[in-house]
Amino acid sequence: MSHTAGVQTFADEVKAVPGGEHLELCYSCGTCVSKCMIQQKVEPDYNPRRLLRMVMEGMEEAAFTSPTTWLCSECDLCFSACPQEIHISQVIKAVKELAVRAGYTSPLTAVTVNEDLCSGCGICAMVCPYEAPSLYEKEVDGVLDRFSKVDPNKCMGCGTCVAACPLGAIARVGVSNAEITAQFPETPKDAPTMIVFTCDWSLREAEDVALLESYPEDEVNVIHIPCTGRIDPQHALMALDSGVKGVLVCGCKPGECHYKRGTDVASCKIGLLDTMLGQMNLPQKQIRFVQIGTQERGRIREEIDGMLNTLTQSMEAMA
């Protein structure tokens, strides 16, 4: 700890990075910690309040290696809740920037780009909420060509670019197209069966997640994805093609998306898909997108039961 006047402390360095300014206002109330879902869902040692404290106490090393520095996805749930109006995600981003400058790297696995497939169209750079992908030029067989590359320290692994890439050139471990489709039920029975694509964050309550899993697997098949931004409309169509009767995509309420805007991207895609089904005279309402807010405890039950009802009714009508 150093309070010597005139000496640049770690806190000063963080404050000098845009976003880090209001650091000292923190009075350690813990609102950010309980608003954030990372500690509850992923990493018990995640704690923004403690990170701010480490910065103020000059604990550089501890701050740079803290999971808080690397796991914050800037969803900003804490910013709107902070009574001191500290833009916590930007303070964390400032620490992360200093950590990267000091040679530390993100522990997260970033998406990978297959350069044999990449056409350098730049859609990934447009959809990414974190400005992780960028285009660069390289000579291949004497021809100057453009490719996408992803900054592993910026990528949070939401998979929005994976779904957006028109050539399937980007992959994210665990949620490749093959890995997702492999989870489709093999022999759908002649009953109202459905697939629920749910993002890792929209169901805040453990009891809601348990409820989702409690439906019989051959009736409600749950597929976990990091973010609904990862949903490719093709997944929904392939699911219907495989024989299930309905697809429910469950994401966060706008403004509460864990990856800033994945839920908005998905909302457009699924909305468009439903309209297209209508234009092709195919039955609508088989594919639905619901956005669940942090305070909507128990809503998932209503949504699934509602959809199962609709499916039963439409099956009866068809029969």
Binding site: C29, S34, R50, P83, E205, Q295, R297
Partner: protein, 629 residues
């Protein structure tokens, strides 16, 4: 209250609003609006027969709308005076109350609001506070989840005279809650709503918890807090007692409340700071301890009384430490939470103190005021000469002491003037002067101080309350500073007229210091603000003229900052030392015409010309005397 009402010398005017306050200490004229009650106070005996007869039911404000009241009502059973009134907004004019009142004939539907004017010697303002509405904080779900209630609702629910006769029940199913969470600092210590600490809520939630626990030891209560503040006598012991009784205290501000849609039970999400872990606990009922906020009509009251408001909207005291219950206007005092959130003991203490302060005025035949008051030369005021008042004096006065009506010259209400001199310096027509600090007097001092080798001198303007004290402390503390400093005292930095500064440089002063209190510390509330604005304008003008940086300096120095005073003067001396003498001489001479240009009207100020001649003679006499020796 009943005691007060019985006191023959206390006249309680309920249901009455202050419309207008004119005059000054000892001689206020207050216009009161006595609102129509539609019940004659001289006949109503408070029997309540009208209430029983009235068929209209509306939400009862006093019961936090948890119970109804009639259109013929008293606000609460302990109302003083106990006179019923008819709520005309909701009355259906069935006249059942008139029948019920019978021979008393107290109900009078023809009553109208009455304006009364009273002669008042002193005013005590005790308008209290209001409550923050937590429904704007979506995260806590107040007004959406039935079992989330506010502290005031809790107060009514566990009051034996309340709507449930003291049974605490859940609004959703009228069951008794077994587990309760209290959340402190709802809307207070929160920059999104009210940044200040609401002062009494910590003790208040502990009190509620202790009361509930005493009535039902099985009930489980958790208080979520950021810090527990128990600064008064016996408070910490009370906090200890609450913990000994088994009330849980959990440090960590909840970020979210969710509700089980079936049971209407609530889940409070918070970080347990001691554990560093997020907890999500289930409760039957949650109480929000909402912030205290200023009354909704506090702005209106502040303009009626002509008293300032602090940031946040509360009334502003004369001085936070030395005159905590006086208003800046003599004869108006504050008591209680209208000044800021305050608990009962402090409010009572302030009430007694305000009464004592007020009675000092009522018992005096005469009232001493500052001798340095401002006086207007009406024939110079632009309202008189040009038929149009500029109003700068009104803007500069922190006390509302300047009266400006129509095309009549401005007038200073002497009893309200505190003598800062802000209006004097602001007046572009030099139509106002200040007793004992006239332009002529100050000018004479300046000319004497700058009589010899002015280019070596640093003329330091200091305000009476802060920087003069700072200079004094520098002396008594034996801090060494340049011997070329020449000090001048005025009452406030607001009095430091631009003319003085121009004149100082015209006379050839090497440097000029413009010093006063720190912002917020000004003895004359906002005098420093007026002074600071003028000083920064001057600084820009001098920069444009090409004056060397540091010759004119603005510094806010408190009476405790003797070291700062010495340092600033030494730094100014360094500036002068670093300019070669011939260059300094050239600069002074170059700027003199610029200064004279801006001083065109100065000799016209009454007394100034004579002061110039007189001081020139005096200076000459003294110098020749010195030379003769």
């Amino acid at each position: 209250m009943v005691d007060a009402a019985r006191q023959p010398k206390i006249d309680v005017r309920a249901f009455t609003e202050v419309e207008k306050v004119e005059g000054f200490v000892g001689n206020f004229k207050v216009t009161l609006r006595e609102k129509a009650k539609y019940v004659r106070a001289d006949r109503c005996n408070g029997c309540g027969a009208c209430t029983l007869a009235c068929p209209v039911e509306v939400p009862n404000y006093f019961e936090m709308s948890l119970a109804p009241r009639k259109a013929a009502y008293v606000p609460m059973s302990q109302s003083v005076p106990l006179i019923y009134s008819i709520d005309m907004e909701n009355c259906i004019q069935c006249y059942k109350c008139v029948d019920a009142c019978g021979a008393l004939e107290a109900i009078d539907f023809s009553q109208e609001d009455k304006l009364v004017e009273e002669d008042i010697g002193a005013i005590v303002v005790a308008t209290g506070f209001s409550h923050f509405d937590p429904s704007v904080m979506e995260e806590y779900g107040y007004a959406r989840y039935p079992n989330v209630i506010t502290a005031m609702e809790m107060e009514r629910l566990n009051n034996s005279a309340g709507p449930t006769s003291g049974d605490l029940i859940r609004p959703s199913d009228h069951e008794s809650p077994k587990t309760l969470a209290f959340i402190n600092c709802v809307g207070s210590r929160d920059k999104r709503y009210n940044p200040y600490c609401s002062n009494f809520c910590c003790m208040y939630s502990i009190k509620n918890a202790v009361l509930l626990k005493q009535m039902n030891p099985d009930v489980d209560i958790t208080i979520y807090y950021m810090d527990i503040r128990t600064p008064s006598k016996g408070y910490e012991e009370f906090y200890d007692r609450a913990r000994e009784m088994g009330i849980h205290f959990s440090q960590g501000r909840p970020s979210l409340i969710t509700e089980n849609p079936e049971t209407h039970n609530l889940y409070v999400h918070a970080e347990d700071i001691a554990l560093g872990r997020v907890t999500e606990k289930e409760y039957d009922m949650v109480m929000l301890n909402q912030a205290a906020i200023p009354q909704p009509d506090q702005n209106h009251m502040s303009s009626v009384l002509n008293v300032a408001q602090s940031p946040g909207g509360w009334f502003m005291e004369y001085h936070p430490k030395l005159r905590p219950i006086d208003s800046p206007t003599d004869g108006i005092f504050f008591a209680g939470a209208c000044l800021g959130p305050k608990d009962i003991p402090s409010s009572v203490a302030q009430g007694s103190a305000a009464a004592a302060r007020a009675s000092r005025i009522l018992h005096s035949e005469e009232w001493d005021i500052e001798p340095t008051v401002a006086v207007v030369w009406p024939d110079r005021c632009s309202a008189e000469t040009k038929g149009r008042a500029c109003g700068l004096c009104v803007k500069a006065c922190p006390y509302g002491a300047v009266k400006l009506e129509g095309d009549k010259a401005a007038e200073i209400i002497t009893a309200k003037c505190h003598g800062c001199g802000g209006c004097v310096a602001e007046c572009p027509e030099d139509a106002i002067t200040q007793l004992h600090y006239t332009d002529a007097q100050i000018l004479a001092q300046m000319r004497a101080l700058l009589a010899e080798k002015p280019e070596e001198k640093i003329l330091a303007f200091r305000c009476h309350w802060c920087s003069y004290g700072g200079a004094d402390l520098a002396g008594t503390s034996h801090f060494e500073y340049t011997a070329n400093e020449r000090g001048m005292k005025v009452m406030c930095s607001a009095r430091m007229d631009s003319d003085f500064i121009y004149e100082a440089f015209r006379l050839g002063a090497g440097g000029v210091l413009y010093s006063g209190c720190h912002p917020q510390d000004c003895h004359y509330i906002t005098g420093q603000v007026v002074g600071a604005k003028r000083a920064s304008r001057l600084k820009k003008t001098f920069d444009r003229m090409g004056m060397t940086e540091g010759r004119f300096r603005i510094e806010w120095i408190s009476a405790a900052e003797g070291d700062k005073y010495a340092r600033v003067l030494n730094e100014m001396q360094d500036v002068l030392d670093n300019i070669p003498p011939e260059e300094l001489h050239e600069e002074i001479e170059r700027l003199k015409p610029e200064m004279s240009k801006r001083l065109k009207n100065f000799p016209g100020v009454p007394g100034v010309e004579e002061a110039m001649v007189y001081s020139d003679k005096l200076v000459k006499a003294i110098t020749s005397q010195l030379e003769a020796k």
